[in-house]
Amino acid sequence: MRKFLRRNWPAYTFLTPWFIGFFLLALGPILASLYFSFTNYDVINPPRWAGLENYEFMFTVDDRFMTSLRVTFAFVFLSVPAKLVFALVVAMVLDKGIRGISIYRALFYLPSILGGSVAVAVLWHQLFDFHGVINSFLGLFGIEGQYWLSDPQYSLYTIVLLAVWQFGSPMLIFLAGLRAIPQELYEAAEIDAAGKVRQFFSITIPLLAPVIFFNLVLQTIDAFKAFTQAFIISSGDGRPLDSLLFMTLYLYQEAFTYFRMGYASALAWVLLIIIAIFTGIAFWTSKYWVHYESERG
């Protein structure tokens, strides 16, 4: 025992804050949250065991839940591919060594760094207002302005646009990945009679695959967790007509507006499982299309 302590005590001392944090703020809450999801809990009274009631309700009766699923998935499937495509295209244009690349790079990245802020969400709200700049601009081309924010048909697109606007972050990562591809491979391919398009598909994409994978996973997880923008633009409740009811928003409402902690916990777990499934699928399919240079066969 003494030897155990003597060997470990410096490390354990350094790890004390993390230990506390891990058990108190991570492990504990996860288990508690799982437990809550099987209860009805309104904070004032202690949790009442409810078995699978919450989950049953969620999947069979709760229309709002289905809506939130639809909204969230639509957001993920619209914004993530668009974001990645923009990021890759711009990264490729910048990769060819242009003067002033660092300025462009910084400017494209700026929206990313401001993206999660309330200020930007507020700004967006005003830009897409019926009397806002976007409609004025469209008016110049004779296109009729729409009620972007109050028409349930269009409201989600404003948030998708906001997300895609922030392509700077994956763009930086793509840039770094593109830089890592040796120029010689392109030269050899050129001599091998490969045109630019062929070079892109035969060399750039396969060798960029690990980076694409990383960006895909990261952006997808982030997209599922989106909250602030939806909250601000929908004034907190997913309006109009729940068209902006992201799962995170729904969760927040159930927990902190209606104090249905049990149900909210169940929602949180469903979100967690969805994220885990997507991540799992990504990892599993990566076997087939991601090639890692560093593997020793």
Partner: protein
């Protein structure tokens, strides 16, 4: 198959001129080696022929065609890179077939060519491996294979053996020479190693700091170097350069004496070049001197003896390994004036006895 014509080729990077107007004719079917120290521009020149670098000025023609603005993919040539540049995510087979697939060749033809290249280079059992699973020598062979399947009119090699260890390098040299004998295609080969140049080339182009110093067969370069650069670059160990001066009907060099030469001697510093194997050890030579041995490098088949003269000049002599030379011994060295090489103050060759060689 095609010859290559370089006319007044210039390469500039911004304000810096790296290659100063080179004229070079590569004969159809020859093995031309571009050799020179680092930074002399040989790789740049090769890459301009390949189409990977832009030609700032002048023209390059392959066959009868000016190719300045023809992209690399359309020049019908192959290139072997120093670091192989194999596609890391493709198998050896796909690496070999890549170029042919791009040219939309029919599959049976592709398979035939790939199989044949694999046979020539003995990489048949590596076909399904990925490049990271190959050794350096194997990778090099695949790179060469990738070049031959295209059956191009011109092969370019950019220091292909530099990344291999010494033993492998010797082996690959022989194989490449065999390949050339077999295919007979025009080959332009870049190296900094003059041994590779001498052993493999039909002709050698010696480059230095963006200039073509001399173009000729290995024999020509060895026996009649046109300037001091080529004289000291070609031949290992290096030629000894002794400084001398004009003196009544000849050239006087310290310690040895005066060498009578037919023809006028320019004013200024004259360099007399004597290769280590050209010294007469013991008696002999038109002029001679005594030298003290400072170091003996014994190689088995021969010995390199380093000596110092009374004037302090240091020379290297190739001697028989059987004579027991020791450090501190005295040696008599002689020079045959008809065998020595003479260079004027501008470094250019003075061809005094050239007609008799």
């Amino acid at each position: 198959m095609a010859g290559v014509s370089l006319r007044e080729v210039v390469k500039r990077y911004g304000n810096v001129e790296a290659i100063h107007g080179i004229d070079l004719e590569v004969i159809d079917g020859e093995f031309l080696v571009l050799v020179g120290p680092s930074g002399c521009g040989k790789s740049t020149l090769l890459r301009m022929v390949a189409g990977l670098e832009e030609i700032t000025d002048g023209t390059i023609s392959i066959g009868d065609r000016v190719v300045n603005d023809v992209p690399a993919s359309q020049r019908n040539l192959s290139m072997v890179f120093q670091s192989y540049a194999l596609y890391p995510h493709m198998s050896v087979r796909r690496n070999l077939a890549f170029g042919l697939t791009n040219l939309k060749m029919p599959k049976p033809e592709i398979e035939r060519r790939v199989a044949e290249a694999a046979k020539i280079l003995q990489i048949g059992d590596l076909m399904e491996r990925k490049p990271r699973q190959l050794s350096g020598g194997q990778k090099q062979r695949v790179a060469i294979g990738r070049a031959i399947v295209r059956e191009p009119q011109l092969f370019l090699f950019d220091e292909p053996l530099s990344n291999l260890d010494a033993e492998l390098r010797v082996q690959m040299r022989v194989e490449l020479a065999g390949l050339y004998n077999r295919l007979g295609t025009t080959m332009i080969y870049v190296t900094h190693d003059q041994v590779e140049a001498m052993t493999m080339a039909s002709r050698i182009a010696v480059l230095s700091a963006g200039n073509l110093e001399q173009l000729g067969t290995p024999v020509e370069l060895y026996e009649r170097p046109q300037n001091t650069f080529v004289a000291t670059f070609i031949g290992s160990p290096k030629m000894n350069m002794i400084s001398g001066a004009a003196d009544k009907g000849g050239i006087t060099i310290p310690d040895f004496g005066t060498l009578e030469v037919p023809g006028s001697v320019p004013n200024g510093a004259i360099s007399v070049g004597v290769r280590p194997e050209q010294f007469c050890v013991g008696a002999g030579g038109d002029v001679s001197t005594k030298a003290k041995i400072t170091l003996v490098e014994y190689l088995g088949s021969e010995a390199f003896v380093h000596v110092v003269l009374s004037s302090g000049a240091k020379l290297m002599v190739k001697a028989s390994s059987h004579a027991a030379h020791k450090v501190g011994d005295e040696l008599v060295l002689g020079i045959n004036k008809a065998e020595a090489h003479y260079f004027g103050p501008d470094g250019l060759r003075l061809g005094y006895f050239d007609d008799d060689r």
